[in-house]
Every structure is written in structure tokens, then in C-alpha cells.
Subunit: 252 residues, 4 copies
């Protein structure tokens, strides 16, 4: 019988425990902000894959890789062995398709963190505001009040009314569920329109996260992607303006 | 593994059994009537928190408190130790997101009532009528026919056709499921439009509940809030009237 | 912990086994045809209640009875002790709200039939055709080919293409699942528009069922209700015709 | 209690193990392509039924067969005993109605394959492109990279970007889940509009599958059906063109 959720570590990892690790979650979500940051860090730091998570709560499909190779929807764990303080990344294709599955998966992620003796969790996400943002802020949430000061010092904004609706999905639930296991967790949310993949927002989250964990990550390529995206958006805004002018002249 | 539903009592409460308690349920619902009444009573009586309920049937998110502190969606239990007859309150952020979860949670609430040797349960809710109501009535339902007389004497209206669709969610299910455990339960429903948070309706429910349980609660602040809401609604009605007039003059 | 499905027999019934019983299912469905027939028979024959079924797969609400008494949504079992051949009725407020629940409940009904040594099951339903029907036929389905002849002799229509979409819900699933337990089962479906409660269709189903089980049931009151409904529909058709004429004269 | 998924083999099959079998899955899906191919092969090869699968994850209904005989929604297994290499077919009425059910059923299919010592699985499906296709290609996916060459040699197209959204349902999940059990699996997808049952696409899939498994299947009847369908579509296109012309002349 298939397990509801299965975690499998690669043989190369087993018995090779991480040192005082930090867990960074960047699953798909609003503006793909968290996913962009975590996958960019994995790429730039050359983090190595250590495990896979499969679940019947993911969408019932396979993903096709370049060579026509089909694989189950999955989440993945990567490790970057920094000096004295390892980084573990949780990334993947999808989050749960059901409400209950969200809880069960998020609790599984916290169980993994506990097993690997994770010292702190950073969950990354986007904070959708519904309009274009020029200089996206990085908003924060914590699962222990004492964590807030350190984040504010690094430039994270805490705003009593934002996000008013709470934090939905893994980025939020991990904060709530890790508290029960005594693990500190922090959520960094890049402000974003919510309409488009947002590398600008991701770049700002990366800058702050990099500072907080004291692991330098060259932001050049992400900034390049942000600049390209900025041009795309300027183009869209321009087209939109022309259309509005035309509508007006038509009415006029 | 995460429990589907977990109940945790605070240490300060354990071993400190309530005396002949009454359970008052005021979870979110139509017009937030039940929630308003129960939370107002907790505030005015200075009831103390004694426990928390978490569940995978709640929405998969965390709530942000003022200081950016994230916590799981939850229901809470409070106690007010009246002389000889304690009040226990069940309040919270949300009800279940699934049909099955509604049953499982409501049964858990009844199990709590049984454990705490609750003598009677009051569930509070709104009864949505789809239009503004000037002097909202308080409708009742019971899980044992003999309970009806006492309620009618206190001003509760029993109307054969209302609510015709039954009572949906915790306020209703608790009545049905507590009967199986031999616990008397009563539902008080404040008539409400169903469109807006309704402190007027809540004030009427409070007045009757306060009489029924013989625990005086100063209604001033709730009445003030009702008055404010009344002005807001008058404003809305006025705007609406003006618009209609304008439409008519436009047509004319 | 609440059971997913619970069956409780009244004390008066326990140990008082039915003789060679027939089970008649008339749960809510298209045109309420099955429900009308089964509840009419219970009423006219003076059948006695013998049990209740509750389930977390029913809608999460309570029903209010006349005196403001709340009770859980439920299905009920009734018995009519005919000479030598008892009739058991399965009626109720609702069917399952989930697909899986439909299977689990229908299987539970078949388990009840097996326990009570039911010889044959009749499931009753409506067959929605989407337009008004003057003389509604009674269509049939069986779970063993040999049952067909007897039904055709009683006036049941078997039509290769009807209902093309199969039979959804309890009336259908009971046929499929009882076959696995070696119990003969037959579905009688009254043709109906599907838009309105349809006592005309129900009267035709009753006439055939009564003949098949050889238990006379005075149809007068059901026929009366059908006549009333016919007048209501004639009224609606008339109004509709007038409106169409007006539209035509407006266009013309 | 009903099992969530049950597999029952016919007595005639038990103890009569297939020789080095290949499993061919053709459940309902886009354009019914897979279903058409598998059921056509069963018909033309005279494959014999060996088993049935029932599940609470299928739609809650019965299907009516010609004589009014109701049967549960099911999937079926057939065998064609070719010389030295048996073919097993998995066909049926429906796939799962829930996401979790898709995983549980697909895993069950893989368990069956493992028990029967299946050497390779072919899953068949349609690849919806949203417009009419003149000469539909057959796209492929594999669960082990080394399988690709053999398929390309037989005319299967592997295209890095197709299908971009992955493969949803049984045809996809079987690939992913059989890999975990060490069984090679291949998906053949016939390009199709996705709007209509598509025997043209099915004929192309059949031609390639027949070549790959080296079992000749006379395609005449499927080609005939494809020709008929082509005429139907030409008719629809013609009607559409006339309508557009009329609209234009109306505007003009």
C-alpha cells in the first residue's frame, strides 16, 4: 500500500548528519517568490540533493523532464554544507491539493526538521497586494516573539495589519507546527502584485535572508532576471496606457 | 504524526475542576452573532483561558497576532468561576472546512463537555433572514422538549417554520450530538440580515442568555457598538435611496 | 469518538426478528419520487419505526422538528409486519454529501439487509427527463437478469437506453453492492421532469410496487396530491403561455 | 465493511499465471484515445476477462447494461495469451473522482502488475491540443530514460515541451509509481483536439503500439470509424464556415 506521505533520503546522505542546520522552505506560492529564492540559492551555492518527499496529497500527475522521463510530483531536500552551519532546502513542484493534506505535509516537514536537529526554519513566500509594487518590502512573521528584533535589524518589516488574512499553506503552517516541537521559525514574505512570477521581490527576500543566515549569495543573476521582468512589465503598462488613451479618444 | 483534533488544557487548569459548569459556544457564523456574544462575555467577565483546540479540519493557515507572531488557527476554552456555577466558553477563529470535520469537531466539543461534567450547553448563532431587521428576535432550539418552557419564559421565540433549513455547523451539531451523551443543550439564534457583523442582534442574545444563566453582564459597550453599527447602516440605506432616486430621475 | 456511520435499533425491535422481509428504500432524490412512495406507504400501512442511522457523511446540521426540538440529520428504518412477509422501509432526510460516503452508506444499508435476512430489496427513485411528462412510466433495473420478467409483467418498462447515465446514489449503489452479498435487488424509477416534487410519478411507482409485493395500499391521498400538483402545473404552464404570447405581441 | 479498493480475479484465471506479461492500460481520458485503443485490441484479439476492480473512489453510481442489469462502476482486467508473451489489458468505466483516490488506484494497478510479474507497462492516453489535428502524432513518456530510443525508432515523438503540464491521472501516475517497484513503463499519447472521441488519434496509437509489442492487430475497423468521424468533423467545419460567412454578410 502506498504511504500517504513518504520521505526517502539518498544513500549518500544517510549517516552523514548535518551540523546545526538551518531549514529554508521555498515551495510554490504567491508570485513564486519563495520558490525563486530557494531554487536560486540551491543553484548558486551548489547544494546537493539529499532526499525526496512524495504524497497522495500532491496533484495526481507526473511531471515530464526534458528527455520525456516522467516522474511523480514531489518535494525535494537539498543540503549546502557551510562551515559549521549547514543549510537544508525544502523545494518542490506543488503544495497539497487538500486542506487536511496541507496540515499533514507541513507536520511532516517539521518532523524532518526535528529529526535533522534543525536550529531554525526560514519559510519563504510572497505577500500579494494586488497591484504593482515599485520597491517591494520584505514582511516578517515569527513563531516566538523574541525572534522579531533580529529580523527588524536586518530590514524585515513587521506590520500589525499585514498580512491581515494570515499566511496560508506550508509557509504559514510550518511556523505554527514547529512551535509545538520547540523549533524557532521565521517567515519572510516578499511584497508582490501576485499576478506574475516576481524575481524583484525574490531578490529583496534573498538579500535579507543572506544577511540573516550570514551566507553570501551572489545576487547578480537574480537581479538580471528582475531587470528583464521590469522591462516586460513596463511594456505591459505602456500597452495598457495606449489602449486606455485610445478608448478615451474613441469616447471623446 | 499530527492528531486530527487535539485538545490541550493549560497547566493552571488541570486538576482544578469546574463546579457544575455551563458551556457557552460562540464560534464564527452568520452575522458573527455567537462570536460577538461569547467574546464580549469573556471580556466583561474577565474569564480566564484554560485550553486550546487545534485540528487539521480548520483552514490550513496561521493567524498573525499584533507583534507578527504567527499561531495556528484554533478554538479556545475560557472559564469564568461564578459562585457555585462556572461558565466555560468555547470560541475561536474558524469552524471546520469539511463536512466530516464538522461532525468530528462537534463531537469533540461534546466530549469536552462530558469530561468537564457540563450541566447544560448554550450554543449561540445568527439566524439570517436576508433583509435588515429592526428589532431582532432571539429564536431558540433545544435538544430535549422539556427545555422549551424555560426559554420561552425568558423571551426566546420558538417558531415552527424557523429556521426551516435547520441549524448548520457547530451550533446545530452540538445540540444533536450532546443529546446522545445525555447533556441538555439549547441554541439561541439572533435574527440578523446575515450581510454584516451584527452587534444589535448580539445584544439581544446577550440579554436573554444573561437572564437564563443568571449571570449579569453589563451590556453598555455592546449596545454602544450596536448604536454605531445602526448609524453605519442608516448611512448605507441613505446612499442607496439617493442612488435609486437618481436612477429614477435619469429614467424619467 | 463518533462513528463514521452508526446504526441503532430501538429496544422494542431487538430480538423480534422480521419474517422473510423485503426492504424498500425511498431516500431523497430526483423529484423526491422514492421518498414520497416510501413515506406514503409508512403512513398508510402504519409501519413502526425500528431504528436510526447517523453518519458524518450526512450534511453537518440538525433538523428542527415542530416544537423547536433539534435532531441530527438521519435515515430511519420502519417495519410493517404483513402476514408472513414483513416490509422494512429505509427513509430519511438526506443522502451522503461525499462520493466515498455514498459507497460506505450504501454498503451499510446492504449489511443491514443481510443481518435482517432480507429476501429482496426495492430501491425507489425518479428518472429525470427534463420536461413535463403526461403519463409517467415506471422504468426498472435489476441486479440479476432473471428478475426482469416478473417486473415487466407488472408493467415496469426496461429500456436499453434509459437511464443512459446509470443510476446515481443509494438507489443505484444498493443494487450493485447487494449483488455481492447475494441479495436480489430491483430499482423502480418513476419518470419525472426532475424540476418539482412529483406525486404523479410517485403514484405510478406505488401502484406497481404494491402489485409486486402483493401488499395493497390505498392510493387515494397520493392521487389527490397528484391532482393538486397537476393543477399547480397547469397554472404554471398557462402563465408561461400568456407570457410567451405577450412577448410575441411585443415583438410583433 | 466495504474495501476502499477491491480486486477480484475470476476463478478461471487463478492459478493460471500469465507468461512474461505486458500490461496495457486504456482507461477513460482525453478524447477517449486510450480507451478506444485498449478496447479495440481486446475485441479484435478476443482477449478474455480475468478480473474486476471496484472502489469507493469511483463515481457513486451503477451502470445499466442492455437488459436493465445494473452493475457497479468498475475497471476490468483482460488477458490475451500470445505465444510466449501475454497481454493484460486494464480498461474500465471511470477513473477516480478524488485526487487521493487517483494515487491509491494507480498504486493498486502497479501492485497488480507486480503480482502478475509484468515485464513492461504501456499506458495509453490522449494529448489535448485544443484544435483539430490533421495527422495526429503519438507522443511518448517513459519512466526510465533508456526506454526512449526504442520508442523513437517506432515513430513515437519525444518533445521537451509536450505535454508541458505533465500527464494527469492513471496514465501518468502508473509511470511514476511503477518505477518505485522496478517495472518499466511507457506512456503513448495520441495528439487530439480534446473535444471529441478521437478514433483517428487512436488508430495512430494502435499502429505504433502494435509494432512495439510485435502483436499484429487488424486496424481496418478502427480506421473505418476514423473515416466516419472525419466526415462528421468536415460537416461541422462546413456548417461553421457557412455560419461565419453569414455573420460576415450580415455585418457587411
Amino acid at each position: 500500500m502506498i504511504e500517504e506521505i513518504s520521505v526517502r533520503y539518498l544513500d549518500s546522505f544517510t549517516g552523514n548528519k548535518p551540523a546545526d542546520p538551518i531549514l529554508i522552505e521555498g515551495l510554490p506560492g504567491i508570485g513564486q517568490v519563495g520558490k525563486l529564492v530557494a531554487e536560486y540559492m540551491i543553484h548558486m551555492l551548489g547544494a546537493k540533493k539529499i532526499g525526496e518527499i512524495h504524497s497522495i496529497y500532491f496533484p495526481p500527475q507526473v511531471i515530464l523532464e526534458e528527455c520525456g522521463l516522467a516522474r511523480l510530483v514531489r518535494n525535494e531536500l537539498y543540503i549546502y554544507r557551510a562551515s559549521g552551519k549547514d543549510l537544508i532546502f525544502l523545494v518542490g513542484d506543488h503544495q497539497s491539493t487538500s486542506n487536511e493534506g496541507h496540515y499533514l505535509l507541513a507536520d511532516q516537514y517539521c518532523m524532518i526538521a526535528e529529526e535533522l536537529k534543525v536550529q531554525r526554519i526560514y519559510t519563504l513566500g510572497g505577500f500579494g497586494v494586488g497591484h504593482l509594487v515599485n520597491d517591494p518590502r520584505v514582511l516578517g512573521a515569527v513563531n516566538r516573539a523574541e525572534l522579531r528584533g533580529e529580523l527588524e535589524a536586518a530590514g524585515v518589516v513587521f506590520n500589525r495589519e499585514e498580512p491581515g488574512g494570515g499566511i496560508i499553506g506550508a509557509a504559514g503552517l510550518i511556523l505554527g507546527l514547529s512551535a509545538k516541537r520547540g523549533i524557532d521559525a521565521v517567515c519572510l514574505m516578499g511584497e508582490t502584485s501576485g499576478y506574475l512570477v516576481d524575481p524583484m521581490s525574490a531578490a529583496n527576500v534573498l538579500a535579507i535572508l543572506s544577511k540573516l543566515i550570514d551566507v553570501p549569495v551572489d545576487p547578480t543573476k537574480l537581479n538580471d532576471r528582475a531587470s528583464e521582468m521590469e522591462k516586460v512589465i513596463e511594456g505591459l503598462v505602456e500597452v495598457n496606457k495606449v489602449q486606455k488613451d485610445e478608448e478615451l479618444s474613441y469616447i471623446g
